[in-house]
């Protein structure tokens, strides 16, 4: 379905936003609610602590073109608990997704499974008699690749965290900008 926030033409564009938010109850809900009510499409959302007390960081991957991303950003800034939004889509970043994959591995084919994991630099983190849990970190396409080759063995369960991103280089974002008081209009001013 299309709406004013998306048209088919741009349907497969992806945008990555990094958000710094106040670590308060309900903030994730506010962000998620915004995307739902404005009909912006989220592909993935991750959230976790930062090195700063009281500040959480989200990485949000969106199905959107540049114009929509600007509007998403403007809408996010309207949330009082959002400290900073960075669109890193067009900036060099390190992007990582983490997956745990529980794959069937019998005595006969276990060596083969391990070999595949090795090629992908995935780690085996649990071994049972007829299954393995494999952990892999990397860009999404690398994980997709491993999943493709593990599929024939039989994937029993899989979980992915969704993308986390960080811009390359030494710059760090300012997330406590000067607080700029807004003007409160005088009563009946002309």
């Amino acid at each position: 379905m299309t709406n004013h926030n998306g048209n088919q033409k741009n349907g497969d564009e992806k945008q990555t936003l990094v958000l710094y938010v106040e670590d308060k109850p309900g903030v994730l809900n506010r962000v998620a609610s915004l995307f739902r009510r404005r009909a912006f499409n989220i592909e993935s959302l991750t959230v976790g602590h930062t090195d700063l007390e009281g500040v959480s960081r989200m990485t949000i991957v969106l199905d959107a073109d540049d114009d929509i991303a600007i509007r998403v950003e403007a809408n996010l800034y309207k949330l009082v608990n959002v400290l900073r939004v960075e669109n890193v889509t067009h900036t060099p970043t390190v992007d990582r997704d983490l997956a745990l994959i529980k794959v069937k591995a019998t005595i006969e084919n276990r060596a083969e499974v391990l070999q595949v994991c090795d090629v992908f630099r995935a780690r085996v983190v649990d071994v049972a008699t007829d299954a393995l849990i494999v952990e892999i970190t990397g860009a999404e396409d690398k994980i997709d690749g491993l999943l493709d080759v593990l599929k024939p063995f039989g994937i029993l369960e899989m979980v992915r965290t969704g993308r986390v991103s960080m811009t390359r280089g030494s710059e760090t974002p300012t997330i406590h900008p000067e607080f700029v008081p807004a003007r409160v209009p005088e009563e009946n001013a002309s």
């Binding site: 809900n29 009082v80 008081p181 807004a182 003007r183 005088e186 009946n188």
Partner: protein, 569 residues
Amino acid sequence: MKRKGAQIIWEVLVQQGVEIVFGYPGGAILPTYDAMLDYPIKHVLVRHEQGAAHAADGYARASGRVGVAMATSGPGATNLVTGIATAMMDSSPIVCITGQVGSTAIGSDAFQETDVTGVTLPVTKHNYLVTRVEDLAPALKEAFYIANSGRPGPVLVDIAKDAQIASMDFELDDSPVRLPGYRPDLRAMAEEYEHAVDLIQSAKRPLILAGHGVMMSGAMNVFLQFVEKTHIPVAMTLLGLGGFPASHPLNLGMMGMHGEAWVNSAIQKADLLIALGMRFDDRVTGNLETYAPNAKKIHIDIDPSEINKVVKVDIGIVADLKEALGLLNSAVPEIKYESWIEYIDELKGDSAVRDIQNLPDNNHLYAAHVIHDLWRITEGNALLVTDVGQHQMWAAQYYKHEQPRKLITSGGLGTMGFALPAAIGAKFAKPEEEVWVIVGDGGIQMTQAELCTCAQEEIKINIAIINNGYLGMVRQWQEFFYERRYAATPLKSPDFVKLADANGLRGLRVERRADVEAAIRQAQELPGTVVIDFRVEQEDSVYPMVPAGATLDAMIRRPNPISESALSD
């Protein structure tokens, strides 16, 4: 000093300059109501919490100050929701304070527990759940600040009962709030203004679209200067009416679905639209694909998320309108667009002949007549509060406003039942104003319980019920688009004169045009609130009309009595 949470609430309210609260008590807010008696704040008991939110909204719109509504948990709070959503859509600054069950009971489906911050999340600018007395004063201060700064809007503070009861050492201080994430983001850069001035100078057929923002930022004077310097004609949105004098020669009137025909045609012909503090609602644009096809667009708004939301613009300036227009005024040269203005005058064409005011008198009472007479008799000075429907559009068309904050109407949400409670709030904000409610027979029945609030508070407002026996606006759509199949629109009403009487108010009835003036004057003179039941033509329609989704200048017009067959009766 030791203070209970309930006392802290009132102390902060007093500090914020609150003089009046509209509300309804109940268990979870009872400690706060108990403490209220010790503070110099008036409380108005509404008859339904929806009325409290609308009254706070009406108070805010009439005064520019924050309106306050109060309710208990659960049903009290959910009853506020329609009023909060109404305030949200029209950017009206209100603070709603609700009681919540005790903090340890939250999440247990306790008696009268509702997740009110959850329910109101999408319809508030921001909201708070306060469970500790220490957090109370900061949350309330922030609420007032957020409600009335930047793009204004409703803020709700939900307060657990134990936080109202608990005490702490409290000293009221006037330290400013510090909200690191709240930065009404004013990003406009000098180049954008320069670019805007270039566009204005090179335009041949420019048009200003003036919205609610003109009034809200207090930009009326700078706006007037801008228009008088550039001589660019002005089209108004519904909520913009009053932000620029109706009698000004460059004021073309209202745009949109029931806007003036020439205004909509001019928008479609314009080569530059300058949108000021308005948001291109679908009721003003019609079909977006064919909207103003020849126009470059400049959009100035305080809310960055409005830029390019529905209409792609060439220049988007995120700024407080008062400041932006001040800057533009010093940068634009004196300009004149004579041929364009002549052309717009031609567009007016036969509109005057079609106007119902000019149709031969056929002994019927039309709503437009009532409103026109009211405008004449009150000399355009009344503070008008309308409900939603046909009468609202006639009020917008026929009551000409010269001053801001004198037309209060639910635009964005179109909330029936808004007018009466909003008028109560407006009257408390502006006791010296002559307040008139224009309301349909449908809408009055939604919140008519507030008639008794008028009686209890002994306030003087006048209520003109435009009684057409139908949910008229819906009936009109059925007439135009559903082959006159009047599903669920014929409406029986109580005897409004008796209803007024039963509430201890005066009721009058008018059935002929000849009696309109006398009734209005009588209402003006009677001391208390007066209800006038105007029995108007039942199947009249609002013209012009742009059908929803049609191109803006594809309007259904009132038949021209001379060239087309005369309006039959």
